[in-house]
Subunit: 378 residues, 2 copies
DNA sequence: TTGAAAGCGTTACCAA
DNA sequence: TTGGTAACGCTTTCAA
């Protein structure tokens, strides 16, 4: 178990030098004669010495780690987010600690606790209260991911309102649908708030009466099934639903199928995020693509720069563009579909990567091909 | 941002006492006169002083944190695992740091790096090499989660082989199916290895020829769709597939539906894990339930005890029992199904919690009901 | 009951 | 090029 930890002093003694010299060698800084360096190096390697983190951090006044705070981790969206973030952090040799607050009531305290162990914090929108966010910012640099913080706090998010507006307008104007229902809880997260916002804006812009209240459910697949049960057992089920994310929409598809409700003939369903499954179900899901990877990457860069003590640029609130992805679940015909100005249509059927133009390498494409011998997730 | 951190010295000066007294008060140890205690307490609260973690950890020689190492985070399985682990850790005021190694080639080094920042490590089976595992164990206490480590290393896992055997026997013997295909990569993780093992054992036990090689795909939903494409485009598609987990099975269902293949009439599909969606799809998924929450809880308790320096008991490799859950996707009739000895059948249709006897509180049940005003995941 | 001082393991400054 | 030593912020003896 916890073997005899060796210290700089120990190595110094063994190599017959001072601790200062050992520190210089192990960090590769300062001037050390070739001969001494070799001697110290040998002692280090021979005993497998690695400087203790606590000591180092205490002396440096830095932890060499940043925190990533999420409410939960369900689904490919978060998975991708984390991957994008870590890919960036690895460059600066900064380790990333993930904290899931879940729904615990003392979660804000937990986040504050974490703030004391890291050099910076990326907090997912809606995870902690604005007050706590301000408190955190007094301790360490904070960047809000997929949301907005108090004025002046840097944040990175995807454009939700306009995309949701375009999507909803597509259903209302191009498909002539009425009585649409928004499935998701706008209080859930800033993302959902924005999508609900756009949903309403579309109605307003077209001079239609305001839509009814949203069906407030969570963002996981089974929440969508639950929503389908609710909606489809009504006397007059809606002709279309705009789901807060793809997973809910997939669940909706499942629930509809279970009741023999045909999509899109009887019910139109749309999602949000464009996760890999969105293009694989039938009918393929009309949705909005957001640059998840870049979202995470930009957040990481912003945070890492701030955590390193470099003056934060004037970049306050970054908003990344999104794309409407029109597929079949909205009622558009298979290969060529009527779309809005921003719509990009599927070229072929079943490959999410080639469905629409992507600006960056999409790792899910590689993931789908089961490369023999490669270790896969889990 | 990083405001003037106050130190113990500062507070001592303000309260007109020594640092030792401040330390005693802030930790609630030792003897301090009521009067002094109040004065120090006031200074502490007035300035919002909280002892620095690094200093404290350095003095104590402990980090007050443990690490949780996963290959990735896709799906409800990991989500549940993390939640279960953290629920246990919160009791001991230990914070949990999650590390996702993804598929990076330098991930073993990353794990070693993390080992130097925590008091103990729970490593998901198959995430790091046995050699690295041994190296880690030299630095901190290690518990393997959902797998087994080198001899002597504590581990907690679910019973896979017998469950997979029972499941497969059910298909072979009770349903008379032949030419089954195992969908999943046994090299992926110990869990999958065990399931493949059981799959083969069932064939052996019934005196049937050994099954063909598994269709090696990942464990996410889209991997199942991919597998369906592969299998169903063959000249002679299989009559049944045993999927390595529920998500793959759900993807298989989607892929089958897209091709007009009926389940279970044309194709029998089974999963593993019993995630919430398993009971909600139609046909509902025949699968194996594993006590994910308890898996995580036991791992946490084992690790936390070891991390606290308490002598680890004689508990080497814990194996938790699993349950075969027979639903419709295997071909059993809806309400009452032919089952094996261990089978527990659904009582009603659509509530995973009540589908089969569970020994502990199932948080997904609460999660499914969208409690108005409650913050939901993400 | 309180305080002075010695660590904890590292880095970095200042002399030598 | 090296070594001594003072931080870093805290806990914890040991005396008073």
């Amino acid at each position: 178990m916890g073997s005899d930890r060796l210290t700089v002093r120990e190595i110094a003694r063994l190599a017959g030098v001072s601790v200062a010299t050992v520190s210089r060698v192990s960090n590769g800084v300062g001037q050390v004669s070739e001969e001494t360096r070799r001697r110290v190096q040998r002692a280090i390697e021979e005993h497998g010495y690695r400087p203790d983190h606590l000591g180092r951090a205490l002396a440096a006044g830095r932890h060499g780690a940043v925190g990533l705070v999420f409410p939960g981790l369900s689904g490919p969206y978060f998975s991708e987010l984390i991957q994008g973030f870590e890919a960036e952090a690895v460059h600066t040799r900064t380790s990333v600690h993930i904290l899931c607050t879940h729904l615990r009531d003392d979660s804000d305290a937990e986040v504050v606790e974490m703030a004391r162990r890291v050099d910076g914090l990326a907090v997912f929108g809606g995870t902690v209260s604005p007050d706590t966010l301000r408190e955190l910012a007094k301790l360490v640099p904070v960047v809000v991911l997929a949301g907005e913080g108090p004025p002046g706090m840097p944040s990175v998010r995807a454009e939700n309102v306009a995309a949701a507006t375009a999507l909803t307008r597509h259903l209302l104007a191009d498909h002539g649908l009425r009585g649409l229902v928004f499935v998701g809880d706008p209080r859930n997260s800033p993302d959902v708030t924005g999508r609900w916002e756009g949903f309403r804006a579309a109605h307003r812009q077209l001079g239609l009466p305001a839509p009814r209240a949203p069906l407030r459910v969570g963002l996981e697949q089974h929440d969508g099934v639950f929503a389908a049960e609710q909606l489809l057992s009504r006397a007059a089920p809606p002709r279309g639903v705009v789901c807060a994310n793809d997973e809910t929409a997939l669940g909706m598809l499942v629930g509809a199928a279970a009741r023999g409700v045909r999509v899109p003939a009887d019910l139109v369903v749309t999602g949000f995020d464009d996760i890999p499954m969105a293009a694989l179900v039938s009918p393929a899901l009309t949705t909005v693509r957001q640059p998840v990877r870049e979202l995470a990457g930009r957040t990481a860069r912003l945070l890492l720069r701030a955590a390193a003590g470099e003056a934060g640029g004037p970049d306050a609130a970054l908003v990344l563009p999104t794309d409407l992805v029109v597929r079949r679940s909205c009622g558009c015909p298979a290969p060529t579909g009527a779309g809005t100005a921003t719509a990009r249509r599927p070229a072929t059927g079943h490959r999410p990567t080639t469905d629409h133009t992507t600006t960056e390498h999409d790792p899910t494409a590689a993931g789908r091909r089961p490369a023999a011998g490669a270790r896969s997730t889990r």
